[in-house]
């Protein structure tokens, strides 16, 4: 209630107006009582009629007086502040049963939260736009008229070409085997087995790497139907960490015009994980940090670091 009223209201006039309403109510009820009672018993009919009319007129005059008084007072009372941020929904605050239906306070909280969210999202989008993560060959900012309508050529490659590139990379490294399959349409799904250390499922979109999941050598990579399971995470924390690093790597190695170079560099980076359990961290020299071996491989030098030790 206090939200709605403000100091613009004349509280005294308000109290007087309330009593004026009461007076008006009683004079109106007197009018009706008089009508209900009807004519009093008097000697002549005329006398009775006159008395009744006089009484009735008195009552109506008092109603009139009270109404004028009320109108005068209501002009003095002043308007409540127009300051609700929610306009009509601010009137919800007048609901007296706050405990059972706290609508107004919840509504205010929801608005504050959504305003904050909008603000933070604006800041985040500004920061993210500085680091462009778009991997297609389209230029940002070129107007729609000048930009060619056709999709960039690297996105529409014949599957045979993709197969060739992958098989060439497969032959490059002896300890890494790559198995390509296309269970869902034209996107290739690679199952990369690295020695006896880990298995990586790579989901591709023509020759761009879309997603990777890293699992242990002894973990099951197939679903119950025998298809490649591309969604479930590894049971081991170390491989969950390596999955995160692999996702960072696939965003790092970007060259929209030459995607086969990208795939080759990604596979070279992945191959450094053959010594996941054998290599100590280059910075602290230990094997374990928080129960994890050095899971980070530097993108340029391929040296092993703990996630918390990397520069």
């Amino acid at each position: 209630m206090a939200d709605v009223l403000s100091v613009g209201v004349n509280l005294e006039a308000f109290a007087q107006a309330i009593s004026a309403i009461q007076a008006l109510r009683s004079s109106v009820s007197r009018v009706f009582d008089c009508l209900k009672d009807g004519m009093r018993n008097k000697e002549t009919l005329e006398g009775r009629e006159k008395a009744f009319i006089a009484h009735f007129q008195d009552n109506l005059h008092s109603v009139n007086r009270d109404l004028n008084e009320l109108e005068r007072l209501s002009n003095l009372v002043g308007k409540p502040s127009e300051n609700h941020p929610l306009h009509n929904s601010g009137l919800l605050s007048l609901d007296p049963v706050q405990d059972k239906t706290p609508l107004y306070s919840q509504l205010l909280q929801a608005y504050k939260w959504s305003n904050k969210l909008q603000y933070h999202a604006g800041l985040a989008s500004g920061l993210l736009n500085q680091q462009s993560l778009k991997r297609s060959a389209n230029q940002m900012g070129v107007s729609a008229k000048r930009r060619p309508k056709a999709q960039p050529t690297t996105l529409v490659l014949p599957p045979q070409y993709v197969d060739d590139v992958i098989s060439r990379i497969d032959r490059m490294f002896p300890e890494m085997t790559i198995h390509l399959s296309r269970p869902n349409g034209t996107s290739a799904m690679l199952l990369v087995t690295l020695g006896k250390v880990l298995k990586v499922i790579v989901v591709m979109r023509s020759l761009f790497i879309d997603r990777t999941i890293v699992k242990g050598y002894n973990e099951n990579v197939y679903t119950e139907d025998g298809k490649l399971d591309i969604w479930s995470k590894s049971n081991y924390q170390v491989f969950q960490k390596v999955t995160d690093h692999a996702t960072t790597a696939l965003l790092h190695y970007q060259l929209p015009q030459m995607p086969d170079v990208v795939v080759r560099s990604f596979m070279t980076w992945l191959r450094s994980y053959i010594k996941l359990f054998q290599a100590p961290c280059q910075r602290c020299g230990k094997f374990l940090q928080d129960g994890l071996p050095p899971t980070w491989r530097d993108f340029r030098t391929l040296e092993a670091f703990h996630d918390t030790c990397r520069q």
């Binding site: 006896k196 250390v197 242990g216 050598y217 170390v238 491989f239 054998q278 374990l288 129960g291």
Partner: protein, 212 residues
């Protein structure tokens, strides 16, 4: 199934087996490991029956039948230096039927029971080795789940064991030396347990000779 190392923890000076186990578990909990239930590994010895030895007078071979609560549906049968058979639990019933060929050595059942702890991808089991009613020693097992090749992750496992065993850290188990790049299997764990139990059995028989 990851690479596992089984070792014996010597009882601390002036303390009982129970107290040493408590010390170890407290160390583990300080490290941040979570308790995850209990485990039990047991072992029964069988002699090859005299009637099957024939006239050459070969020495009877000892066969060990082991169970591990980590693999509840399996039963392991091992010879000392020989192969290890992994069978299902009906193997115990089969042993009863093979009474003519294999006789159980009485009072030879040895087992270790204790709690399981999980620390990130490591699994640690600290157990009290008992033979009959008496506690004979402490077994400590450390397992690193993600790796399946022993030679790969031995240094990693060693560093982890050192963090809570301190100076009592064991050397590389002999089973690791035998298989260089082969995938580690549960049978190797049971071989290690068998070695540990035999050592404890020999300790009790010759306390003067075999002080650790």
């Amino acid at each position: 199934m990851g690479v596992t190392c089984v070792s014996q923890m010597p009882v601390a000076e002036g303390k009982s087996v129970q107290q040493t186990v408590e010390l170890l578990t407290r160390e583990l909990e300080m490290l941040g490991a979570e308790k995850q239930g209990t485990f039990c590994v047991d072992d029964e010895t069988y002699h090859t029956a005299a009637s099957t030895l024939g006239s050459q007078g070969q020495a009877g071979k000892l066969m060990y039948v082991m169970h591990n609560s980590e693999y509840p549906l399996s039963c392991f049968a091992l010879f000392e230096n020989g192969p290890c058979l992994v069978a299902d639990t009906n193997f115990d019933v089969l042993m009863v039927k093979l009474k003519g060929f294999f006789q159980s050595a009485k009072a030879s059942k040895i087992e270790t029971r204790g709690t399981r702890y999980q620390y990130y991808d490591f699994l640690v089991k600290v157990g009290t080795v008992t033979m009959g009613p008496s506690a004979r020693g402490i077994s400590v097992e450390g397992e690193y789940g993600p790796s399946v090749v022993a030679s790969d992750c031995w240094s990693l496992l060693l560093e982890f064991l050192q963090s809570f065993l301190g100076s009592n850290t064991p050397g590389a188990p002999t089973v690791f030396g035998n298989r260089h790049d082969a995938v580690y299997s549960p049978a190797d764990t049971m071989l290690q347990y068998m070695g540990l139990f035999n050592k404890i059995r020999r300790q009790q028989q010759g306390p003067v000779a075999g002080i650790r």
